[in-house]
Amino acid sequence: MHVAIPVWQERVSPVFDTARSLLLVRVADGRELERKTINLVESWPPLRVARMRELGVDVLVCGAISQPLARLCQAAGVRLVPWVTGMVDEVLVELLAGRLPAPEFTMPGCCGGRRRRGRAAGPAGRRRGGGGRGRGGRSRGAQDT
């Protein structure tokens, strides 16, 4: 399995749409086997996703990602773990241990800003650091719809 993490100053890039560097890690049985850094020059979202496909990315762990790009990733069969922040190495350890998303590695306002539009979103939707993701699982609902 290939995990990709956009990198900036050894941290997860704040915005995947504009990230310039990608850490590609080959993992098996929860262990890191190999890693390399790739330059991302493609800014056009479909091309950026085509590059992910070429690289064989299965899981993309990233910070903020715009809706169109997120939809393209999902359509390409790339599993998204978005709104992640922190040092890349620590994030990778957490991912391999199956502990992502975790509150301490989650961007603020990560739950899709439901409060702004929906107004009816429950308080869980706005809890700091991954609140609203429900019983510690991935926020798949937000990613797959």
Binding site: D17, P68, A75, R128
Partner: protein, 478 residues
């Protein structure tokens, strides 16, 4: 505290001197008179919270130390969540990594004004913004951090688009597999400089694709000239396309270069090419073959460097067989063919498009419509959309006009779509209904259309097969 301030204000107001008295009493400062009560520390926050521009401050380690109300609104992040976090985690601007404006200001000491960028807000929306930056200093003039103010330009950008009818490839909203495949090859097509034929029914977004190709091509700095070949009679179209010399015909007092020469160095988009007469087809073929145009009434050919993108809602192959379209021209145009499926073949995009149009009309009309009621959406999911995306856009606009609330209901849809003899109001059922039912209906109908083939169904729906399996399990399908 507020009450205290009020009473203080009243007292001072009572002691206020006549207007003329201020001149001598204040000596340039108005603070001692009632009208100019000294600013209090708490006021600054109130003032900053009352403006529509987002404001945040950072310390020297880029931690957010202040975040006003407008910043909360624009980013979708509450102040309590933002304070103490790194600014790039909260602001998430396109310039955070490369060329952060605030960093530049802190390094140079020079303020920055009205710099363009976009942010990704908490909903994952890209918002165009304008950023201004300045250094914050302590009483000794030493820099202690920075302040960034930003304006949401979404409304301005939407109005600009609407006025110029100039939409970008970001307006192509789709998660349909065929559309995604087409979009993924678009950049390569754009860079190739090849002639492109965009086919698809009316209202599927052929002009958006043409613009995307132009914007992604090496010709993006050049003009994009659009000509609707069905909008003009044949003789006018010829002069419109290729120009005319002065005196070429009655009223041709001045030389007119024509659209091809106007598009020199750029792209010409020939919409509804299937409507062109055989005579004009022959002239167009010559331009494509020889890359020269000959204006009407002129004997001089003029070279032109233009990329041609043509579009049609007709089956050109059939027109060729019927002898109504030149085969050689067809082959010249059909170097790369991009086909846009009708909306009825990508129904999974309907909710996305509805959301997209709601956001656009909210910006254009200053409304705060939150969503379309599931029952209304269910009606749209069953509709065939002969007018495709343009029809859907008109339907949403129609619903905006009729609705005064923040939810678009079935009765706000145009007459033919409106449910017959429905009791007024949505009732508690509509409020309880959820997108879950619609999601289930879409999956069932797609499964049926794909002969229960899950791989194909997932592809049609633009989701991963595992996601489809999980959704089916969740929705108890199959």
């Amino acid at each position: 505290m507020a009450a205290g301030r009020k009473s203080t204000g009243k007292k001072t107001a009572g002691k206020r001197k006549p207007a003329g008295g201020n001149k001598t009493a204040g000596r340039g400062r108005t603070t001692r008179s009632g009208a100019g009560a000294p600013p209090r520390p708490g006021w600054l926050a109130t003032i900053l919270d009352s403006i529509t521009e987002g404001v945040f401050t950072v310390d020297r380690d880029w931690n957010i130390t202040y975040f006003n109300r407008a910043a909360e609104e624009i980013t979708g992040i509450e102040r309590g969540e933002a304070l103490g976090r790194k600014c790039f985690e909260v602001f998430r601007a396109s310039v955070c990594e490369q060329g952060c404006y605030l960093r530049r200001t802190l390094e140079s000491g020079e303020p920055g004004l009205g710099q363009a960028a976009y942010i990704v807000n908490a909903r994952g929306e890209r918002l165009p913004i304008s950023i201004s930056t300045a250094v914050l200093r302590d009483e000794r003039g030493r820099p202690v951090g920075g302040v960034e103010t930003f304006r949401n330009l979404s409304v301005v950008e939407t109005l600009r688009q609407e006025l110029a009818q100039r939409y970008t490839f970001h307006d192509i909203v789709s998660k349909n597999a065929r559309m995604q495949q087409m979009l993924s090859i678009l950049p390569r097509v754009a860079l190739s400089d090849a002639t492109v034929l965009v086919s698809g029914a009316s209202g599927t977004g052929k002009e958006l694709v043409a613009r995307a190709i132009h914007d992604l091509s090496r010709r993006r700095q050049g003009p994009l000239v659009t000509v609707n070949c069905a909008a003009l009679p044949d003789n006018l179209l010829e002069s419109e396309l290729f120009g005319h010399a002065a005196g070429a015909f009655t009223d041709a007092r001045q030389e007119y270069p024509g659209r091809f020469l106007q598009a020199d160095g750029g792209t010409i988009f020939l919409d509804e090419i299937g409507e062109m007469s055989p005579a004009l087809q022959a002239k167009l073929l010559r331009v494509l073959q020889e890359r020269v145009v000959e204006p009407l009434g002129s004997t001089r050919s003029r070279p032109v460097d233009v990329r041609v993108i043509a579009a049609t809602n007709r089956d050109l192959g059939r027109l060729v067989k019927g002898g109504r379209f030149r085969q050689d021209l067809f082959f010249r145009l059909n170097v790369v063919n991009l086909h846009l499926p009708p909306l009825r073949e990508r129904r999974e995009d309907i909710p996305l498009l509805v959301e997209h149009f709601i956001a656009r009309f909210n910006r254009l009309q200053g409304r705060e419509v939150v969503r379309m009621a599931p029952e209304a959406l269910a009606i749209l999911m069953e509709h065939d959309f002969p007018g495709n995306v343009r029809e859907l856009q008109n339907i949403v606009e129609h619903a905006f006009v009729l609705s005064s609330g923040d939810i678009l209901l079935p009765e706000h849809l145009p007459e033919p779509l409106r449910p017959p003899s429905r009791p007024a109001g949505p009732g508690p059922v509509a409020e309880r209904a959820s997108l879950r039912d619609i999601e289930a209906a879409v999956i069932r109908s797609t499964l049926e259309r794909c002969g229960n083939n899950r791989q194909r169904t997932a592809r049609e729906l633009g989701i991963h097969p595992t996601t489809l399996w999980r959704k089916m399990k969740k929705l108890s399908i199959g």
